[in-house]
Subunit: 213 residues, 2 copies
Amino acid sequence: MTTTNTAEISPRDRILEAAEELFARRGFAAVGISEIAESVGMSKSSLFHHFRTKAQLYAATVDRVLAEVDLELTRTLARGGSAADRLDRWIEVLIDLMARTPAHARLLLRSLFEEDEISNVLPEQQEADEKLQRIIQHANNVLRDGMAQGELRVANIPHTIQTLIGIIVYHFASGEFGDELIGRSIFHSDEVKRRKREIKAFLHHGLVIERGL
Amino acid sequence: MTTTNTAEISPRDRILEAAEELFARRGFAAVGISEIAESVGMSKSSLFHHFRTKAQLYAATVDRVLAEVDLELTRTLARGGSAADRLDRWIEVLIDLMARTPAHARLLLRSLFEEDEISNVLPEQQEADEKLQRIIQHANNVLRDGMAQGELRVANIPHTIQTLIGIIVYHFASGEFGDELIGRSIFHSDEVKRRKREIKAFLHHGLVIERGL
DNA sequence: GTCTATAAACAGATAGAC
DNA sequence: GTCTATCTGTTTATAGAC
């Protein structure tokens, strides 16, 4: 058994994990390299051996999250089914991912609404962008199919995607505010289940009761 | 006519306006005092004459946004009407506010999902918190009334509030990503109208068409 | 691959003149 | 109320030993 034991976590991945936790919570600018190094139990210099700049580390961190999201969504959609079923699974998988790794939700929200905090020409940044495009394309395809086949109400697709992101990603990124509003941790198992039920009910019935019925 | 001419904007407000624009776009940590000072055409020291610390300036900036949101929501809800009508107006007013001042949406989203980036004991922070509580309480009241009177489907109220925030605030805070997804500026007048229509349709009909109908 | 030491730039904040 | 000059600490990043 040499150093290529797959059971051991590489220094690179330990750094990425610590970086995700910190960047997710406080954002790129508020987190120092020394803080990440301390959290992972290394010196700053060792960290710079694995990532040349802070920006590159951040981009790699975001890329890693988007890769996981893209992978799981691609996998569940490949199973096929009706558009309504695939939409259900797209939502379910995304929620499970956010609920399992709270840092993912926050970092994903940051990657959506923070203006490019970093140079924008890093290869890691471009790869992350492509993954984000694929994630959105998945939703696009499902919604298009569902509307074409009469399973979904005809609506503006990009706006519908924004609505889905807002309903799912914002909620699980809302941290202390969300906890206080909901009354307990938004990541509590029962509360995650409740979120799924509430979203499903919203998608099926809306909120306002039609007077004409 | 002395220096108390109300038509002139006070240095304090000019600072707050410049700070909002910068903090909204890049967050507390990424914006330097000198940058704000330069943007407003002052030296750092002059800025420190009006606000003792950067944290206090940030808290005052957030407080100012929440005060405007709270004021407009309180005003529109005071006009009364059915719960469904008041919900419509709560949404309409919030959207108009976000659409009119893009920085508001981003700063509001930050105040919701960023963990207290500042000391948490500043009076400005506490005032902002109270305003946020009032904004949420408005939604709480409207939803409670609507469900009690059969105008709204019975749903979990905190989760419904999270859904409304996600649908409205996240969308208008989504910046470049939103623009790219939608295909033009999310703040374009027609696109804001479309957002209102899409949200209203979602609230009235959901997204999924029931097979049993 | 990890470390100590350090460079170079910049941050928030203060002193004190005008 | 605004300025210039400065203090003090921290930042990202590098040099070079082991």
